[in-house]
């Protein structure tokens, strides 16, 4: 059984994004999705610190310390891009103007609940950033994550155990084992990584699956 690598997961997500969409990519693995959208396909990336039309990392010698993304990495602005302040940037998010947000997650429940900001009720120092705004505000929320934790527990669950980020908003989940839609009847498997069998997927998943 061969699982998708992170690069393959990013390419898989990128293939599902139509030209013309405004997209916010969360910090971490989702950021890799941008590398798999060819520049001639006009997908417009948004970064919550006020960059609309974000381009790739700068080439050596052209770094600009005034231009970072939400993960505080140096980025560029593509032709047609714009800078806005934080309240306007979050108006784009909260006002339902983004076609898509892709976030990482600790858990996704079969009703679309997402937990991705804290791993216990009493985190020593919680930090939420823009996760709750993005999850509640974007027109579509897709999650990109490993199918299981390092110790083998399913991250697709019946009900989230970690503190929630938002209720019933995840539409699709891309894991290293499968692509799943969140439907009224729970997770529906759309595609499996090569060599992953139904039995293996069911064994790795606590939530109910339909095929």
């Amino acid at each position: 059984m061969s699982l998708w690598t992170r690069t393959e997961m990013a390419a898989r997500v990128a293939a599902d994004i139509p030209e013309g969409w405004y997209v916010n990519l969360g910090i971490g693995i989702p950021t890799m999705v941008a590398d798999h959208v060819a520049p001639e396909r006009e997908v417009i990336f948004h970064s919550e610190n006020g960059v609309l039309g974000m381009g790739p990392a700068p080439v050596t010698g052209h770094e600009d310390k005034w231009l970072i993304n939400a993960g505080k990495q140096l980025v560029t602005l593509r032709a047609g891009g714009a800078y806005v302040h934080h309240a306007d940037s979050f108006a784009m998010i909260r006002g339902g103007h983004l076609d898509l947000c892709v976030l990482g997650a600790f858990e996704v429940a079969e009703n679309g609940d997402i937990a991705n900001w804290a791993t216990s009720e009493n985190d020593t120092a919680p930090a939420v950033g823009g996760a709750m705004d993005l999850a509640a505000g974007a027109r579509r929320l897709w999650v990109m994550m490993e199918h299981t934790t390092k110790d083998g527990r399913s991250k697709l669950v019946k009900k989230c155990g970690y503190p929630l980020t938002a209720l019933a908003c995840v539409k699709r989940v891309y894991t290293n084992m499968a692509v799943l839609e969140v439907t009224n009847a729970g997770f529906k498997v759309v595609e499996m990584a090569p060599g992953v069998t139904r039995e293996a997927l069911i064994a790795a998943t606590i939530a109910e699956l339909t095929f």
């Binding site: 610190n49 005034w66 120092a125 939420v128 709750m132 705004d133 938002a166």
Partner: protein, 221 residues
Amino acid sequence: MIDKFVRSMAEAMDGIKDGSVVLLGGFGSVGQPDALLDGLIEQGARDLVVVANNAGSGHVGLARLMELGRVRRIVCSFPRSAGSVVFEELYRAGKLELEIVPQGTLAERMRAAGAGVGAFFTPTSVGTKLAEGKEQREINGRMMVLEHALHGDIALVEAWQADRWGNLTYNKSGRNFNAVMATAARTTIVQTHHVAELGSLNPEAIGTPGIFVDRVLHVPG
């Protein structure tokens, strides 16, 4: 003649009282008013409430202010980051109150304050522990949480250019929280990289009009 430029840091920091609510521009290290933070450290006000996206890093600026025991409470969205050692230590020791606010709600609370809006309903945080204890209402078929405007006594802002009326421009992603914070405080204090002649800034490109600005200090980058 209107001239909002001050000649010294002492003049910029004049009158900041103990217990003030201080709004800080910046996101990470970009657009952070570092010189003004140093000025505030020197000025001596204590028992401060600081509103900022991040909670400082290393032992400089905001982190230094907290380390000196001058901050009672911090309101932010993402306090934990590489290098936020001072925040984490004070928080664990119970020496710093923390209010975590989703980043968009944080920005909107200042926008509301700046626009005279007392409070607003938003779906962000519904069903999470950040909504606990807050009034909720169904509006247009969707549950929403009531969030209140957040006013500052002082805003500290970093601009790229400023003229003597206090019109400001920003540089790229350095606009971030600066333009929002500038609207929401009783006294808005700006550090600017460049001084512009009145009338030389493109009116279409002014990020913060001078009506929101009280004092400007030239701090060449």
